[in-house]
Symmetry: C2
Subunit: 276 residues, 2 copies
């Protein structure tokens, strides 16, 4: 693993690291914030998965999460959203290929060789981060924005016992029924829609739910409401009697200004679960 | 004035606006955060001047200032760092020309026609902002980072009565004695060094000081310490018995991670002065 940069930040260290990924078959870069509390022992960790077009960097510099992670003594991991580089398949569209991994293991050409973000985030990166940094693997939580909210919710529900809490900012809620989803799941997983169900937060909520608290924030002025389909997940949470909150935030859009505005709440929510 | 964007942010509005600038002879773009409190009446304002290579946008998305401005009910203005556009002079170096206005009125060719950032920030933009938004012009404060810290300090000292408080993150402290200064002041103002003195925070501190509190934060691991010359300003502040604090922050560098880490302190410092 190579250190790209380390900057002191809110008493801790905001680092950026690159490593050869076995799952993705290319070099992968991630950001990791270690709070000052990590000097005295392993700290709990919150995973932050980003949305379409983002790298590890966007949320790391724009979401304001370190402010509150430092206060609560929580580490943050900011993974990339796809494999990248020469020799990695891509598409001209912003919503397919590099920057748009959708947190699945692709089975179809030309994606199958590198696009294994599920394995990368479910297994490889947690092992690397846990072995390298002062992180308590028994206390993990996960959040994300947009496509990253989709990733956070699907990982949380399908890896029971892994995460104590899950939250999301304006997640893609029902990708099997949205143009943010159908195109990508068909490209990565093939035409058989039964294989898509494991990557749809609404379907997983109906079938599995989450064994812990859930917090969803969605802006009422989000320019992508038709693609996100928040009503599907809200209904599924209510039908299941899922422990959780689904909040509409009046006037907010899809931007990082929205994410930053509610980051304090999300960190407090996760801290409550991680320090219980 | 044209609205480029408005995003709800921490209960207020983060806007970006463009207008034809008389001072600079080109269109100028600035960011302005209005807290929710502005719905009920004019609010105090904190000017944030940015550093080399920045536009209005960098601090607006990376410094985390809205978090605390919302809490204290303070508006934020994020001006650009120079005139821009086709027909505006420029230089290949990152530290001269567009993105590097140094907050002066240039008198020398080819800069004199557009590079009038002092007039723009001392007169034109305050008038526009005051006439357009719910801002209390009697309660203004100013801060900045690096070249913007230089701008904040020189404007504050040379416009007595305008600002109630001034702060800076890693400011260029003594440009008449630094490669971040001599080259630019010579280019913009000409070879007569006596004309440079009005744009050197250390010289102004010795001669004028500031009629209010001053807060300076400087990281001990800043990669540009030799160019910033913090020791010159610290000595001048102490010699003058200036009301203020000069703080070395161990381990911090020159990045926005440093700026964001101490933004809460700076907003509280300015709020104390603005609400006294």
């Amino acid at each position: 693993m190579q250190t790209i940069s380390e900057n002191k930040c809110f008493g801790g260290i905001q680092g950026v690291y690159t490593h050869a990924s076995e799952a993705c078959g290319c070099n992968m870069t991630f950001g990791l914030f270690l709070p000052e509390a990590a000097n005295e022992g392993a700290v709990p960790v919150l995973w932050y998965l980003s949305g379409l077009t983002c790298t590890h960097e966007n949320a790391m510099v724009k979401a304001g999460a370190q402010t509150w992670a430092a206060e609560h003594g929580i580490a943050l991991v900011f993974p990339d959203t796809s494999p990248r580089g020469k020799g990695v398949a891509d598409d001209e569209a912003y919503d397919l290929g590099q920057g748009a991994g959708f947190y699945v293991n692709a089975t179809e050409a030309p994606w199958a060789r590198h696009f294994r973000m599920w394995d990368y985030l479910a297994d490889e990166l947690p092992n690397i981060v846990g072995a390298t940094f002062a992180i308590d693997e028994d206390r993990q939580a996960i959040t994300g924005h947009s496509m990253g909210g989709h990733g956070a919710l699907t990982l949380a529900m399908r890896l029971p016992g892994r995460f104590r809490s899950v939250s999301a900012f304006a997640p893609i809620c029902h990708p099997t029924q949205s143009d943010w989803g159908r195109k990508q799941l068909a490209a990565y997983l093939g035409a058989d829609e039964s294989l898509w169900a494991g990557h749809d937060a609404t379907l997983l909520m109906r079938r599995l739910g989450f064994d812990g608290p859930v917090l969803i924030d969605q802006g009422s002025k989000d320019q992508f409401l038709d693609l996100l389909k928040p009503e599907a997940l809200a209904a599924a949470m209510a039908e299941r009697r899922q422990n959780g909150q689904f909040r509409i935030q009046p006037g907010y859009d899809h931007s990082y200004f929205f994410v930053a505005s509610f980051m304090e709440d999300h960190l407090r929510f996760h801290a409550d679960a991680l320090y219980r």
